[in-house]
């Protein structure tokens, strides 16, 4: 149904629309990943240690969410253009599952692990649960990029 929608046909049959949306998707993903990786690296204790996690994440995360919104909308448009093909691609399905895991990890961090973020030390290593959340997030997002790239090589 999605595959045969006017929008799907328009994107699929245009010479430049699909690559344009795909480029926007990649741009949004790079901005999203770059910014969330900064917060994850801070959580793990690898970089940006001089910045308190609470204020650091408050500065960075709004940009992260904006980039995610663009990646989500452009991803949806790409999906609509080849819904049949994507929905049968194992790497696409894996990417969606990993996205759900990343979402759960974020929600868990927001409402459980990071609930007392304001009481965490400002310039030292963070609690183990926070470091684990950062590491999990980083692994999940790298895996999502891997699956995303593999989709392009396995579409039939």
């Amino acid at each position: 149904m999605l595959n045969d929608s006017d929008l799907g046909v328009l994107i699929r049959e245009s010479d430049s629309l699909f690559p344009f949306i795909e480029s926007l998707h990649v741009l949004a993903i790079t901005c999203f990943f770059g910014s969330i990786a900064m917060v994850d690296l801070r959580l793990i204790g690898v970089s940006f240690l001089e910045k308190p996690i609470l204020s650091f994440s408050r500065v960075v995360l709004p940009y992260t969410w904006k980039a995610f919104a663009v990646a989500f909308v452009t991803g949806l448009l790409l999906f609509v253009s080849k819904a049949d093909t994507y929905s049968h691609n194992q790497f696409f399905l894996m990417k969606m599952s990993l996205l759900m895991c990343a979402g759960i990890n974020m929600l868990f961090f927001q409402f459980a692990t990071g609930k007392n973020m304001d009481k965490w030390p400002t310039s030292e290593a963070l609690p183990a649960a926070a470091r684990l959340a950062g590491f999990t997030s980083l692994v999940l997002w790298v895996s999502i990029i891997i699956c995303g790239r593999w989709i392009g090589f396995t579409l039939i």
Binding site: L27, I29, T30, F33, G34, I145
Partner: protein
């Protein structure tokens, strides 16, 4: 732009053992290299955006720019190096498709311009951390460079993706 010399070079490159090996293993090697390429593009984009933001917003006397410049410069330089290696591997994998593509040629020009702006910022800020805030004219010029570099970075990502199509 596709000259005979370029095509000859591509053909010679295609016959190297590295190119043949990459082609034989292209199923996993090319997407793996592309994943690394994308991750380091993300590192450059975000580092550049932070650097731009700091140059625009850091108040005079704020020493964090000194620290950030050092850290971001090493991230940007390191990421450029990784992009160079992964980019070269992708060229060797498909020389004619990449070197002969107008999108690739545009990407290289944009990359060089971005690198020049980065070096300009690095050189001036290393001598004076608030160089771009000294006069209204310099402030305006820095904003122009920041806007241009942002567009260039976006252009690099776009051109990179369009290599697959044109």
């Amino acid at each position: 732009m596709q000259t005979q010399g370029l095509l000859d070079f591509c053909n010679a490159l295609e016959e190297t053992s590295l190119s043949i090996w990459i082609k034989d293993n292209s199923e996993w090697f090319v997407p793996s290299v592309q994943v690394v390429h994308i991750i380091f593009i993300a590192a450059i984009l975000v580092s550049f955006f932070i650097l731009n933001f700091k140059i625009m917003k850091a108040p005079i006397g704020d020493n964090s720019l000194r620290f950030d410049l050092k850290r971001l410069s090493s991230i940007i330089s390191g990421a450029f190096f990784v992009l160079l290696i992964t980019g070269l591997l992708m060229i060797v994998a498909e020389p004619a498709r990449s070197l002969g593509s107008p999108a690739f040629q545009i990407k290289v020009v944009l990359l060089i311009l971005t690198l020049l702006i980065f070096l300009l910022f690095k050189y001036t800020l290393n001598n004076d951390y608030h160089y771009w805030q000294r006069t209204p004219k310099l402030k305006m010029l820095s904003r122009l460079f920041i806007a241009v570099s942002t567009l260039l970075l976006m252009g690099i990502v776009f051109a990179g993706r369009w290599i697959a199509y044109f």
